[in-house]
Symmetry: C2
Amino acid sequence: MLPRVTTVADLSTPALVVDTTALARNLDAMSAALPGARLRPHVKAHKCTALAREQARRGHAHFTSATPREIVGMARAGLGDDLLLANECVDPVRLRALADCPGRVTIAVDSDATVDTAAANGIRAVLVDVNVFLPRCGCPPEDAPRLAERARAAGLDVRGVMGYEGHAVLIPDRVERAAKTAQAMERLAGVAEEVGGDIVSAGGTGTYDLNTAATEIQAGSYALMDGDYGKLGLPFTRALAITATVVHVNNRWSVADCGLKALGMDHGNPTIDDTEVLFCSDEHLTFTPHRAAVPHGTARVGDRILVWPAHIDPTVAYHDRMYVADSPGVGAHVVETWPIDLRGWDV
Amino acid sequence: MLPRVTTVADLSTPALVVDTTALARNLDAMSAALPGARLRPHVKAHKCTALAREQARRGHAHFTSATPREIVGMARAGLGDDLLLANECVDPVRLRALADCPGRVTIAVDSDATVDTAAANGIRAVLVDVNVFLPRCGCPPEDAPRLAERARAAGLDVRGVMGYEGHAVLIPDRVERAAKTAQAMERLAGVAEEVGGDIVSAGGTGTYDLNTAATEIQAGSYALMDGDYGKLGLPFTRALAITATVVHVNNRWSVADCGLKALGMDHGNPTIDDTEVLFCSDEHLTFTPHRAAVPHGTARVGDRILVWPAHIDPTVAYHDRMYVADSPGVGAHVVETWPIDLRGWDV
């Protein structure tokens, strides 16, 4: 899709802006570390088939999704070689939509109900999702072999196991992060053989190089990065900002048009370089005077600024598109517009 | 739009569900307290022209918006009798879209730049937005008469003043809330006469009956309510839940498919009746065993539950539609589907 505007400063705001140089650097760094099928990029972080295509161009043909919508959208975009729904689903309508996808779809199961509903609705392949200490989905390890047997008896191809060490991925201390990852993967590896299949799927951006037990890593955030992952000293840099317009200036604070409906807030406030964010309202961000943040040195109504989200995934999910810019900063040229075509839940 | 399903339990999840009885009660209670033009309902809370039409049916023909998109959408839906953009805007494209709307559009101005840009792009009417102690937009009171004069000199109709006591609306103690509101409105009233015009626009759901200085109240949350407003003892009850499906159960926690991409999180976790929410992930909600929350008394995969958002406005902005149910609970019949047609920022 051709953009209607040519520089970031021409965009109506708030608008997501991808720095294509930083993105390419992140994608290249990850592909060098985890080439080909060693990485199963998670599309939930960006919800964008155009970005997934950039990952595919670097040799990753297998993808991870969190929703049936993401799977169906990826398959329709021709990126359906090997799609994993790393999530439990008992919705017959959506399972049938997955079963009807061109290409190969595998889903996670962790209970009798998820196995039986998958089999009853045309799903052909599963991974047994094992709880590896994150209090979320995943069966107890001791139940995994039985579930695998039940799945095979129902005609499902059991391709292996998965387990997400989500409690470890954001631990700032690398040694502690590694220890928690090793503990989680020991639990997963302990049942992998008995379950059968050749896949051990796990990991995330924070453990991409620490998780050596998994056959494939489900990292997604590395592509665009965000505030929390930025604190871990990983070889990936922030590549997604929101450009906003300053709509109010006084000598104590400034206000920009980027608020709660443009920002995932579960990790707290976003940041703006060289200023302090005070608080967010529905459509506003109040921050300390931003003298240093604008090129002309004096804050003015109409200034464009860049806002860095604390958490990318729920930020992207508010927006309909991201603009790809050829360099960082508000003066950059917009070279492409990428629809965030995997947002929502419709299949 | 006719729904494809007939009960809440048939909906694919997560899905917004409006209890039409609670909604009607809230709308009726507010209309009784603030009839006709005494209320200028704020559409930012629901972003839904079908819901706005319910407000219009109760005699409110003037509406408040936070974005140009909301204004344009309301005007297109035939609800453009008197629309206020209670926000500053310096985007020429969007200002021209507002100027081209059928019906009457008034926008807030609080600086030379906002006045001049409005006048240069065809806007015909403004309110002078005065800061009433919330650190956000609004000019200093002493600057309001000068801005009004500048606006009139530029050919703009100055219809009055506005000022939002957003720092007061959620104060739990009613006496303190009243005191902060009175202090804010004293500041606004102090310049209203000198600015001229006959509108003093202010207030919100938390101060709808305390703010007696304003000629019109900009309340929006009262229609659907949410966790924080629910603590104030107002005569409005929660009318919007998210129905979710339980996808994992064990004896220590359960997991439902309603996560960070379905929930505004700036006010914290949502709630589920009779259980404790532990944490949210992108597409999951982990909570304590939900025995009491399901009719059959035992938690099962596939159970439908209702999740109550802590903050309605940024929750609604994630969704594409809300389903209107004829009663509370997951067994209710879905009688209508309302598109959330004012979401996003495109004009």
